[in-house]
């Protein structure tokens, strides 16, 4: 038993870290360090840099571009990327639809889509949630009716993250309305340029527009875009959601934020001296660091056990990662609120090319929006309440 990385793992970490330091464009790094979301271009640029290095999709099968790394190495790679800080690869492609396609898709689908996902030639988004189907995903209503060679899709999806940039959407649609709930759902790949699709942005409380509604009005989708078998889509979705939990704790993101907190608290003044010298603040920070260190080790335990599980069967302990991970992401944004104190007040979206001078330092202006925005992390991807249901039932047997 040894929590430390082996010499080989350490060497790997150093290699990854060195590459990130050299290859990550300074502009992207700067924006992320200041607490901004990466832009569409940031994500594409970085993904192509990774792809050129052969590191675009480490967890995929080697024949489709995977690296064959151990779970520990994949974990190191992800952590280092979060701490760089570099943009996270677009999950909808590399972590969601990609694995579904290489596991359940046809040969034609694999050849058509997988290389384009790895190089982010296609921007993917996820069409699961509907206005009436959130935590209770299986009650979704979007219909797909088979008419000869096409499915005709009607309905509405919502909370579709970054759909405004999307070339493709993978959808859960109901193909057998007579079947009960989980039965009768299929997994369909839909080109966003197909006539009948409308995207409506939803502005979130931080002022951003990450999510959208997507409306389908007699959208004709070639039947060859069905993944796997008709009416088996729920199985593929469960597989996908299982994979989604990998890295859900986002420990690297929180660690990077702790680093920023320490830097900024050394600058901001409280009581006539740097805030970092205030004992209460330091203890509050240390308490979060302790929980984060614990979570990091919990995550390492899950990763180390990863190799011993069947693929697509997530460790039920991943619910622990989701709950604590989201709590700590939120706690770190609250610490940043402590750092900036009263100057959280100005709303300074700071659009490029604006006439007026910014009111605040770039890093300061993102703090309140980031606090607001991070309330979502305990809601999406299976709310923390759903995660506790899972623990009670699947782990504790209640």
């Amino acid at each position: 038993m040894d929590l430390r990385l082996t010499d080989e793992e350490l060497a790997f970490r150093d290699e990854v870290r060195a590459f990130f330091r050299q290859a990550l464009p300074a502009g992207i790094r700067g924006r992320l360090e200041a607490g901004h979301h990466p832009t569409r271009d940031d994500i594409v640029t970085w993904q192509r840099i990774l792809n050129a290095e052969g590191w675009a999709v480490p967890h995929w099968p080697v024949e489709w571009g995977g690296t064959g790394w151990s779970p520990v190495k994949q974990y190191i790679f992800m952590e280092e990327m979060q701490m760089a800080p570099a943009p996270q690869p677009l999950q909808f492609g590399v972590s969601m639809v990609g694995p579904v396609i290489y596991t359940f898709g046809s040969e034609a689908q694999k050849r058509r889509f997988l290389p384009r996902i790895a190089n982010i030639d296609d921007w993917w988004c996820q069409g699961f949630s509907e206005p009436g189907a959130g935590s209770d995903l299986a009650s979704l209503k979007t219909r797909a009716e088979r008419q000869g060679d096409v499915y005709v899709v009607n309905g509405q999806k919502t909370w579709t993250t970054l759909a405004q940039h999307a070339d493709w959407i993978f959808c859960l649609v109901r193909t057998d309305p007579a079947a009960k709930k989980q039965m009768g759902i299929s997994f369909l790949l839909i080109d966003m340029k197909t006539p009948g699709i409308t995207v409506r942005p939803i502005q979130t409380i931080d002022g951003g527009c990450e999510v959208n509604e997507v409306f389908f009005d007699d959208v004709r989708v070639p039947a060859e875009n069905l993944v796997g078998e008709e009416n088996k889509g729920w199985d593929y979705a469960k597989f996908l959601l299982g994979n989604e939990r990998v890295g859900i704790a986002r420990v690297g993101v929180s660690k990077e934020r702790i680093r920023r907190i320490k830097q900024l608290a050394a600058i901001e003044q409280a009581g006539g001296r740097p805030l970092i010298e205030d004992r209460r603040f330091r203890e509050k920070l240390a308490a979060v660091e302790i929980e984060l260190k614990a979570l990091e080790i919990t995550q390492m335990r899950v990763v180390a056990a990863e190799g011993k599980r069947a693929p697509g069967k997530p460790d039920p302990a991943s619910s622990v990662l989701k709950i604590k991970g989201s709590e700590l992401q939120q706690a770190t944004t609250e610490l940043l609120m402590d750092v900036i104190g009263p100057y959280a007040l100005p709303y300074d979206p700071h659009e490029e090319g604006a006439n007026e001078e910014p009111i605040l330092e770039d890093w300061a202006a993102t703090i309140a929006p980031s606090y607001f925005n991070n309330r979502k992390v305990s809601i999406y991807g299976g709310s923390n309440e759903i995660q506790k249901n899972i623990i009670a039932k699947a782990v504790l047997g209640l």
Binding site: S129, G132, G134, S135, D136, S139, T158, W159, I202, Q203, T204, I205, G207, V211, E268, Q269, A270, G271, G272, R280, F281, K284, M337, D338, G341, P342, Y343, A344, L345, P346, Y347, D348, E356, E357, I359, A368, P369, Y371, F372, R375, K376, S378, I379, Y380, S383, N384, E385, K388
Partner: protein
């Protein structure tokens, strides 16, 4: 001991609530926020008509001579409706400084116009380095013949971008964190040397960063003792904190009501989500937090005028701590229980959450006031 409102107070409460119900629903508020002015002239006129803008002023100044309970009633209603108008800035802060520190002549010159809705005030006090310390003032006022010349930078001036008149704090003596040596100056917002950078705030109101460069004022612009204004600043800020506590209670009430409504109507797994016990208990916890905050807002209202400064400070700080903690819990849980829609600008609850968040950071957050309450020896006499 008596928790009943007088007939007059009940009438005030009813008329404010009616006015807001008629004219200040969520759509109306959206339009006001979108206007970029930070207030609606019509709403402001209604405030004047109802007597709200002179509520605490003497009758001779067009006011009603009302006390902290009346302010509490108004602010709680404003919190419930998410009012963005600069009432706190004009009536409680600016008006309070003139009322408590101004000469009869200054009061007569300023307050009647405020009460009539013809003049808006703002208090230009905070500075970037000061965080929550009221005595940390670097802006300087230099004697200049009969008058004064002011230089410095002020920030987070609530309603500062559209105010007609600023009350500016500036140091006339001492070092930047001395308690002694701070004065208050009435400055025309358009005076030469005053540069204002207005901006929206996170919660839909407006504020400004203000630069003062060789701003010259007459001797008559000084409110009270030019080197001894800190006590009156503290007093007015304490009154503002009590008012904010009441506003927060109104906002928390509205957050809880919206959450309970959502729990009753939102269906998942074939049942309203309010049928789930874990969510029921969360809502119950929100109610407990709300009732505790309501009690402390009452306490702050009663104690804002108390004679013993130690007791007063402990009470006000204690109230700000309780309100800050309750507001954080209720705001966060309201979003969580609303799920995705709580994260959207289209839905009202997110705006309540943001206002509650900002109230915590105004005039000292819960941590800051916990330290003050502890220094003051706590709230339970041993």
């Amino acid at each position: 001991m008596d928790f009943d409102l007088t007939d007059e107070q009940r009438l005030l409460k009813d008329s404010v609530e009616k006015m807001l119900a008629d004219a200040y629903d969520f759509e109306a508020r959206k339009r006001i926020v979108a206007s970029g002015q930070g207030f609606s002239p019509e709403i402001w006129a209604s405030f004047a008509e109802l007597g709200l803008l002179g509520l605490p002023f003497a009758e001779e100044h067009g006011g009603f001579g009302a006390g902290p309970v009346e302010t509490m009633i108004v602010m709680e209603a404003f919190g419930g409706a998410l009012v963005v108008e600069p009432y706190l800035a004009t009536v409680i802060l600016g008006g309070g400084l003139v009322r408590h520190a101004g000469s009869p002549a200054q009061q007569s010159a300023i307050l009647p116009a405020v009460a009539a809705g013809e003049r808006r005030l703002a208090f230009a006090h905070a500075e970037r380095q000061a965080r929550y310390d009221l005595f940390d003032v670097e802006t300087a006022a230099r004697r200049d013949g009969d008058g004064w010349t002011i230089n410095g930078r002020k920030g987070l001036v609530l309603g500062g971008d559209t105010a007609d008149t600023l009350v500016v704090s500036a140091r006339t003596a001492g070092a930047s964190r001395d308690r002694h040596g701070i004065g208050l100056f009435v400055v025309d917002a358009d005076a030469p040397g005053v540069a204002r950078r207005g901006y929206p705030t996170q919660d839909g109101a407006r504020a400004a960063e203000i630069t003062l460069e060789n701003v010259r004022v007459e001797a008559g612009a000084v409110l009270g003792d030019p080197a001894g204004a800190l006590p009156v600043i503290e007093r007015v800020v304490e009154e503002a904190i009590a008012a904010l506590c009441a506003e927060a209670v109104g906002a928390m009430e509205s957050a809880l009501a919206s959450t309970v409504e959502y729990l009753k109507t939102r269906q998942q797994f074939g049942t309203p989500i309010g049928a789930f016990q874990a969510l029921q208990h969360r809502a119950a916890d929100m109610l407990v937090a709300l009732e505790q905050a309501r009690s402390m807002a009452l306490f702050a209202t009663m104690m804002a005028g108390a004679a013993d400064p130690r007791e007063r400070r402990a009470a006000i700080s204690g109230a700000k701590v309780q309100v800050g903690r309750s507001a954080r819990f209720i705001g966060q849980q309201a979003i969580q229980l609303h799920g995705g829609v709580g994260m959207t600008m289209e839905f009202r609850i997110g705006h309540v959450f943001k206002r509650l968040t900002m109230i915590d950071t105004l005039f000292g957050d819960a941590d800051h006031h916990l330290a003050l309450a502890a220094e003051a020896g706590g709230l339970i006499n041993a």
